[in-house]
Amino acid sequence: MPSPGTAARLVAVLFATFAGSEAAVQAVQESAEARISGYVRSAETSDVIRGAAVSVSRSELPDSVVAIVSTNRFGYYSLSLPPGVYWVEAVRIGFAPSGAQVQLDADQTVDLVLSRRSLAAAGLTVRADRLPADMNPASAEMSTVRFSVPDVERLPVVLGETDPVRTLTLFPGVSTANDGTSAINVRGGRADENLIVLDNSQVFNPAHAIGFFSTFNSDAIDDVVLHKGAIPARFGGRTASVLEVFQREGNRDRFASAASIGLLSARASFEGPIGSGEGSWLVAGRRTYGDAFLVFSSDPDLKKSKVYFYDLNLRSNLDVPGVGTFLVSGFVGRDRLALPDFLGTSWGNAAGSVRVNRAFGPLFSNFTVSYSNYDYYVEVTSVDRTVISRIATFNAKLDQTLELEEAGTLEFGLHAERHAIHPGRLESTADPTLNQFVIDPRRAMTPAAYVEHEASVGPLTVRYGLRASMFVRTGPETVQQYENGRPLVYSEERGRFEPGVESGMAEYKSGDVISSYWGLEPRASVRLGLTTVSSLKLGYSRLRQELRLVSNSNSPSPLDTWDMVGPYLEPAVSDQLALGYVTTGAGGRYSFSAEAYGRAATGQTDFTPGADISFNEQLETVTVPSESRSWGIELLLRKHRGEISGWIGYSLARSELRTDWPDDSGAGDSDIGINGGDWYPSPYDRTHDLAAAVIWSPDGLWGLSANFVFATGLPTTFPVARYELLGVLLGDYGPRNGYRLPDYHRLDVSATRKFGRGELRFGVFNAYNRFNAQSMYFRQVEESSPGVFETEAAEFSLFGIVPSVSYRWSF
């Protein structure tokens, strides 16, 4: 805990930082000690290594350690010690340890480079590695899933497309509503409650091929970190989780390239140094190539059709002496589907960021600007309509990390975001100037500030922080008004929601505040060390969310639009409490964690039954306020190294929703809404979810791996009766999500074989060809005779057995 003296020093350092004076920062440091700091990098890729343990000892003997610190999320470490001779060593799972002797008499920079261990050699190492922070009993971090893409890319995947988001679903607490979506549900949250950050930019809809694949090209990705709870204060804007995806930095030593081809896509990546190691760059691309064969089609329509997606990733780092390290990151991904004279659609993300970071002694300072855009269009040539929709966010951030030695680490920062949502514009496809119908764009500014402190006292490590954020929606905009301010009313006698009575429009000019919200988000986690290899952890976080995806289906689609809070929509607020236990065994080869969590969120939304939400400029007339709650137990056993590595995860969970309709009678909870206002299972509620992933590397040539997944069938809704109306057959449906699909289980296997610079991969997804129902539906039988409505129930499954093969070269 910081003493008053520390606090005074802190204020001085803060002041000095914002004044930009390195000398001033150093002036307030203690003079009796000297500082060792630097980056830990990978020898193969030059990427920084996050979460590496840096130990400082009097000699190379393991029992003479005087200090241990971890590299931060920039791969940077810093500590101060009395002058002397030290051995500084960095260790990280998957890498051979590496160290250097240091004669410390003044502040010194010591960068360490670790070589990735071959999987075969890894089994022979006896030295105890440090564990990733989420599985590390010594860290206060909890409710986190971390992995490096190179460590999991041998796991079997659909069509050989290694997908970090798919890998996440093999960990407890992460699920999807079906096999065909890369939208994840974390601890009972909706897909749009996850903040997805690629380097420093938000990504709004990371889906290709309507969700079959995520937009993250594994060739360009290094680390993946998912915060399921106890979310650090530097993050805000989403109420369930934060997914951080880090792109590779590129090789600082030499030019390197890789290429691969699989059944779905071809990829290539290039990287190399800038100057003599002052920086690096990386460019990676991927594109599906199936459409190249369309030209051979005899069908003229197909010949002119377009079906493809691509990604382009870019990253560059450059050290500029006296200024800091610049990091430029960019990403473009796009899907296109076009059928001549009929339909065309395209959607994609574009995101970019520039960050400069610099260490001022104990202060690690970052300034970031980023931009992210998601847009789509759908043109229906046959009816001469084109719909265009877009969301764009501009973001500026100042983040500071101050190493306070015995007083811990202090993080603080200021963020500002500007959002613009263009929900929809309707144009004539033939003549874009004609017949425009535009839903007014929505604009907002969101300033935020946070501070978070982590410190250890004896066996106790405490991290606590606070985030304060505002959301100010501004004009120009024309806002529909309703009688009594109620855009949606409930008709008790008709038993249905109905639009409120319109009462004119309110015009807001540019800069006018339409509505504004603010709130505090406390975050805290506590770790209590039980033994040297086990600890208890407790975490709490409150999160607020002002943007949301307008989606009325169980899985988001790329053609959903985003909306923001405003006069008729309040921010969502979630609270999560988690309790965890972590232990390691066999010198860190194994780790086991158990967590129990409870989560509740208000200010969520549902839609009136049958609501038409596409291109609806008055969504408030079909939006029903709702709330959610979830709880669960998650168990994860991981084996980190050896010939066989992998994990088994299990979760027992419940995730529920309820209409949150204000009760006008004052008689307590209202019985209005979906399922009579009662709690009901969310569409992604899985009671049991078991997943195992195993990677076996018997030698340097062969690798075998397998996944197995078992999950309770997802909730669904059944009709309880039928009736005829307007010439069609309709269902009188029972309670929403009151029934279950059959249980889900699946086995995937893959094998890899190295040939010099190449690697051949075979995979089989859904190896025993299980028919896993993704949805069940009830319908008229097509062949019914006139006037007779025969009915049937059908289950739909996305993937049977899917074999794959791919080949990868590296140079």
Partner: protein, 332 residues
């Protein structure tokens, strides 16, 4: 304005020809994954073909819970501007049945049905088709009919009184009705299409329900994507001159066939209700992106007690219709 309506037998044979169903699931502003896969599933695209072949459905036996029967109301007051003799009021009453019981809907034959207009004219409807449960206004003074006039439906049945109040929706005249040959197109075969030209009135708020009759029999193509043809709203383009609109892109009449198209005026509320009805039917494909299934609540209420809630709707409509016969010069 007041138009004296003749009593009419109304369309009593509500049989439906559902031969035009097909399985492609596209709708105007939406591409489903199913569609995406199928479109990609050409032989040259081995990968997507593999996916399309593996993404499949199977018919299953499911034991469904059953529910107490509920009254289903389909009630209309129609002011037919094109064929005044077809103006009148009719109500069809049935009850819900077990979902998998494909026998015809059980008609309600012992109800008292009356409609009152805003001038307090009371129309007693009599059961004319016991097999279908259709009640028609045959005797007594005609209802006052004009757009904007209000009507109340009252049904007494099984100890409960069911009520609904509506306002007559303005209709949209048909400027022209004709046929055009269309070549084979993705998702539908080549054939003759019936096309409508009409001019939407300048002020917004006009919606249309399309009803088609082939040689006098009602036809409907409740396929995915057609929900936006079966009902149309002028929300995005009020006052538009619409040309060449095909209300049923699957109807393929032969030479000599007589096709009638009715443009039935809808209030916004009824438009939304009917869109939900057709959408639920069209979404029978049930892809993972479909909206949650839910019972669609109509505008008829049980005034005796909240439960059992009735299903269905009561509407008052200004109707325009036109009939054309397929000439032998159009089919190649």
């Amino acid at each position: 304005m007041r138009t004296d309506a003749e009593s009419s037998t109304g369309p009593s044979g509500l049989t439906v020809i559902a031969n035009f169903r097909e399985r492609f699931n596209f709708r105007v502003m939406y591409v489903s994954r199913e569609r995406f896969l199928r479109l990609s599933g050409v032989p040259a695209l081995a990968v997507f073909a593999a996916l399309a072949a593996s993404g499949c459905e199977r018919i299953v036996d499911v034991e469904l819970p059953s529910a107490e029967p509920r009254l289903v109301v389909e009630g209309r007051v129609e002011l037919n501007r094109s064929v005044p003799g077809n103006s009148g009021a009719w109500v069809r009453l049935t009850v819900t049945g077990d979902y998998f019981d494909s026998s015809p809907a059980t008609p309600v034959t012992d109800a008292e049905v009356r409609i009152t207009d805003q001038e307090e004219t009371l129309a007693e409807l009599s059961l004319v088709d016991p097999a279908e449960g259709v009640y028609v206004h045959l005797d007594g003074p005609p209802l006052a009919m004009a757009p904007g006039y209000t009507y109340q439906l009252e049904i007494r049945w099984d100890g409960d009184t069911y009520l609904s109040d509506v306002e007559m929706a303005m209709g949209t005249p048909i400027d022209s009705l004709y046929f055009e040959w269309e070549e084979e197109f993705i998702g539908r075969p080549a054939g003759l299409r019936v096309k409508v030209d009409y001019t939407d009135p300048p002020e917004p708020g006009h919606s249309i329900l399309y009803e088609l009759f082939l040689n006098g029999e009602p036809v409907i193509s409740p396929v995915p994507g057609n929900e936006f043809r079966l009902v149309r709203s002028d929300r995005y383009r009020p006052g538009e001159e619409v040309t060449g609109f095909a209300p049923d892109p699957l109807l393929d009449p032969d030479v000599g066939d007589r096709v009638t198209v009715r443009q039935v005026g809808l209030t916004t509320t009824l438009h939304d209700y009917m869109l939900a009805v057709f959408e639920q039917n069209a979404l029978g494909l049930g892809n993972p992106y479909s909206i949650p299934s839910a019972t669609i609540q109509g505008n008829v209420v049980n005034s005796t007690s909240v439960n059992p809630r009735p299903l269905g709707y009561f509407g008052a409509h200004e109707v325009f219709e036109a009939t054309v016969v397929v000439p032998d010069t159009l089919i190649p």
